[in-house]
């Protein structure tokens, strides 16, 4: 048993370190102290001191800070959603990307972007809203089909169903793109996932959904513990399974949908991070959820940093790197699972 202070202390320190590091590094290096000064003055509405290069101010505030914040929010959203899906489906391989939820959200996002849909009242939130709706629809259909195939919902069944739906939804996206006749390169780049050149507007788009989704999940941490023993067992323990399950699926879809809307499909974050967090700090969802969130944010900030520096000045889509890390982890967990059963 590790004390909670240590768990959260280490995780937060890593997150803050990753943020400072990522803001600092780039084609122009910004000293860490200056970053602190720029952010500090901005936060307290004070003028930046004369000793900071004005160029730094603009790099930090206009380019790197929003990028890092967005990466952090996307990473946190995907990681906590992954942790929740895994607990709910008692399946350490469940993850928004693998379950097809990300693809579902993409359909909504692509449709919104390329047909230029804008719903009244919600305006700029049309994009995340439609992504969330298609994400939720997808997860409900995937689970319905998985249950039809195999009442016990084995790990493999759920994954297979998710992959089938991903493939299907992927071709729908291709169809939309073909119909609109837009430039393919740009769309593929978006589909592979990226947090570059989005600005504070996108941070503003994801933030409310991130807060709402995370709040719902954190409120259901104990229920997730019970449900990770199986739905029947959870009901024996007094959990209102039907209601809680729906809440968790909605929250997971909100988080995934909003993340996809602002960054495209970034896979495997929701798999790798909860897995790592569970290994390090234990499976209790009361701590697993917030710790996954913090670690996920730090992880995506660092992978994004890697994506823009590894073949600089070219920028690699961040989804490529998460998949490079995530797919082997997926394989290892699958092999371990099979061995146990």
């Amino acid at each position: 048993m590790k004390s909670n202070a240590i768990k959260y202390g280490i995780s937060c320190a890593l997150l803050i370190g990753a943020m400072l590091f990522a803001i600092s590094i780039g084609s122009v290096s910004v000293p860490i102290l200056d970053i602190v000064k720029v952010i500090g003055s901005e936060a307290f509405r004070l003028p930046v001191g004369d000793d900071v290069d004005p160029m730094y101010v603009s790099i930090v505030y206009e380019i790197r800070l929003p990028r890092v914040l967005l990466a952090g929010l996307v990473g946190a959203s995907l990681a906590i959603a992954g942790a929740a899906f895994q607990g709910l489906l008692r399946n350490p391989l469940a993850e928004p990307y693998i379950l097809g939820v990300s693809s579902g959200a993409s359909v909504g996002a692509v449709a919104t972007l390329f047909f230029g849909i804008s719903l009244p009242v919600i305006g700029m939130y049309t994009l995340p809203f439609l992504s969330i709706i298609t994400a939720l629809t997808t997860i409900l259909i995937v689970l319905y089909f998985a249950r039809k195939i195999d009442r016990t919902m084995r790990v493999e069944t759920i994954i297979l169903t998710g992959i089938i739906f991903s493939a299907f939804l992927g071709s729908i996206i291709s169809l939309i793109i073909a119909l609109t006749g837009d430039e393919l390169q740009q769309i593929i780049g978006w589909m592979l996932g990226s947090v570059s050149m989005r600005g504070f507007r996108y941070v503003g788009i994801i933030l409310p959904f991130f807060i709402l989704g995370s709040f719902i999940l954190l409120m259901n941490a104990k229920e997730l513990n019970a449900m990770s023993l199986g739905e029947e067992r959870a009901q024996h323990l007094g959990v209102d399974v039907g209601k809680r399950k729906l809440l968790i699926l909605i929250a997971g879809s909100i988080l995934t949908g909003a993340a996809v809307a602002v960054s495209g499909t970034i896979g495997f974050v929701g798999l790798v991070i909860p897995h790592l967090t569970r290994k390090l700090w234990g499976p209790d969802h009361v701590h697993l959820l917030p710790l996954s969130m913090i670690t996920g944010a730090g992880f995506l900030i660092l992978t994004d940093l890697l994506s823009r520096t590894i073949i600089s000045p070219q920028v690699l889509p961040v989804g490529v790197i998460t998949a490079l890390v995530g797919a082997p982890v997926f394989a290892i967990i699958l092999i371990k699972q099979r061995r146990r059963s």
Partner: protein, 494 residues
């Protein structure tokens, strides 16, 4: 505590449990029995609230379970599930603590001192405290079952439901678990409702049993009534034999394997060729075990035995633990003690007598060794003080036939009456009382039957078997005693 009234239920509109009614009292250990697919698990799922009723109602503590919230119900009813593989490495304590969920209301209700105390107490009670901080996945099936029992018990339920709780547990864990449940029922008033597939365990632990067949209640009574051969044979479609537990007043059922698998290919019998004599021992070696009731030193009581040994010992034989000494003796001569009935006698073994007697469709072999040196009149006997001398009249009766238990008892009576008559006819007296003796203080008897061939229901003197035993024992004993008396006389004359 629990009331089930005209309850019907099942899955997808199909009625699996049909119109079941019963009630379970507080502190009762209630068992549910039935073949596979008889609706036991469905019934348990209906009681635990997993499955809605199609008809009827179920009440817990006087209130319909449909009117409880999920959490309220979990504070009344807990379930010990069948073991399922664990996915996440929760520690034992985390796992047990999950049982307190139903007692936490409100979003921010935190872990209290009371919660901690209950968890600690239950972990101690279920013997899992020592590994509270280890991962559940590391533990054996028996330990995991205890962990989940602890999880159910920290719910502090009034009713505990169990679905085949002893599945996958080895013998010691089965007993340990059921002992613990029974203790909780009797001492803490926990109402226990358990599906059990082992009828004999159900008999030992349950106060009452519900026997289900095709979704209906076939019987609802105490174990003695429900576990009748007729009911079990018809519901389970197999042959069982009911017998009393040899140490406690509970019935036990013995499964009858198909006759083809265990019965000898052809009729066989015991005759003089199975006997061998020496100055040290008289041995009867049967090819197959025979059912025996005897008062020997080893293998006494009722059992199935292959070897029968009447061993000569010195008149002054004395041993602290004569049973152990006898077993050592038998082992040393190649007789497996578990398959042997062993007796002792102090007389010269040449003075035996035996004979084969043919009945109609059966036969008997009688072997007697006898001396009447310290004969007593049993109607005037007093307990002996000091070491008891080895038996002096040992009677063996082997029947080539199939005997009922009452026939074994009657055979014992008949043989004993014949013995008394021999002593009377030979005018052998109890020296202390001067009256006619009926036997010696340490006589042994053995009735054995091959349990195949003709079925012999009775062995009183009114029956052919009884008459034959009476005659045969009389003849052989008279001859054996005469031999001994003659030898003595010859010795006295010098």
């Amino acid at each position: 505590m629990l009331l089930i009234k005209n309850a019907s239920g099942g899955y997808d509109g199909e009625e699996i449990v049909k119109n079941i009614s019963f009630s379970v009292n507080e502190g009762e250990f209630f068992g549910i029995l039935g073949p596979n697919g008889s609706g036991k698990t469905t019934l348990i799922n209906m009681i635990s609230g997993l499955l809605d009723l199609q008809q009827g109602k179920i009440e817990v503590a006087g209130r319909n379970i449909a009117d409880y919230s999920k959490k309220e119900l979990a504070r009344k009813i807990a379930v010990l599930p069948q073991l399922t593989p664990q996915v996440f490495p929760y520690t034992v304590k985390e796992m047990v603590s999950l049982g307190r969920y139903a007692h936490h209301s409100g979003l921010f209700r935190s872990w209290t001192k009371e919660d901690e105390e209950i968890v600690q107490r239950v972990m101690r009670q279920t013997n899992i405290l020592e590994f509270a901080d280890t991962s559940v996945m590391e533990h054996s099936g028996g330990e995991q079952q205890r962990i989940f029992l602890a999880q159910a018990l920290v719910q502090q339920p009034k009713v505990l439901l169990l679905d085949e709780p002893t599945n996958h547990l080895d013998l010691a864990y089965q007993k340990e678990l059921l002992d613990l449940l029974r203790k909780s029922a009797k001492e803490k008033g926990l109402t226990v409702v358990a599906i059990l597939h082992d009828l004999n365990l159900a008999s030992l632990y349950c106060d009452r049993l519900l026997l289900m067949d095709e979704g209906e209640a076939k019987a609802l009574e105490n174990p003695d009534e429900v576990l009748s051969e007729e009911l079990i044979n018809s519901v389970f479609d197999t042959e069982v034999i009911k017998q009393a537990h040899s140490k406690i007043a509970k019935p036990q059922l013995h499964l009858m394997p198909s006759k083809k698998t265990w019965q000898a290919k052809k009729l066989w019998s015991i005759d003089e060729t199975n006997l061998s004599f020496s100055t040290e021992q008289i041995v009867l070696h049967s090819d197959l075990p025979v059912k025996t009731i005897s008062s020997g030193i080893v293998g006494a009581g009722i059992g199935w035995y292959k070897y029968f040994v009447n061993r000569h010992v010195d008149e002054n034989y004395y041993c602290n633990d004569h049973r152990k000494e006898m077993r050592t003796y038998l082992k040393g001569r190649g007789f497996p003690p578990a398959q042997t009935v062993g007796m002792m006698t102090a007389i010269v073994l040449e003075d035996y007598s035996y004979g084969i007697y043919e009945g109609n469709g059966f036969s008997i072999l009688v072997v007697v060794t006898a001396s009447v040196g310290n004969a007593v009149d049993s109607s005037r006997a007093k307990p002996l003080v000091g070491p008891v001398a080895p038996g002096t009249i040992n009677t063996w009766v082997f029947v080539n036939g199939s005997l009922t238990e009452e026939a074994f008892i009657q055979a014992t009576i008949t043989a004993t009456e014949a013995k008394a008559q021999v002593l009377r006819d030979l005018a052998i007296q109890d020296r202390k009382t001067g009256t006619v003796a009926t036997g010696t203080p340490t006589d042994s008897i053995l009735i054995a039957a091959t349990q195949q061939g003709k079925e012999l229901d009775y062995a009183g003197t009114a029956t052919e078997l009884g008459a034959l035993i009476g005659n045969a024992v009389y003849q052989e004993m008279k001859q054996a005693i005469s031999k001994t008396l003659n030898r003595k006389k010859a010795a006295e004359q010098g």
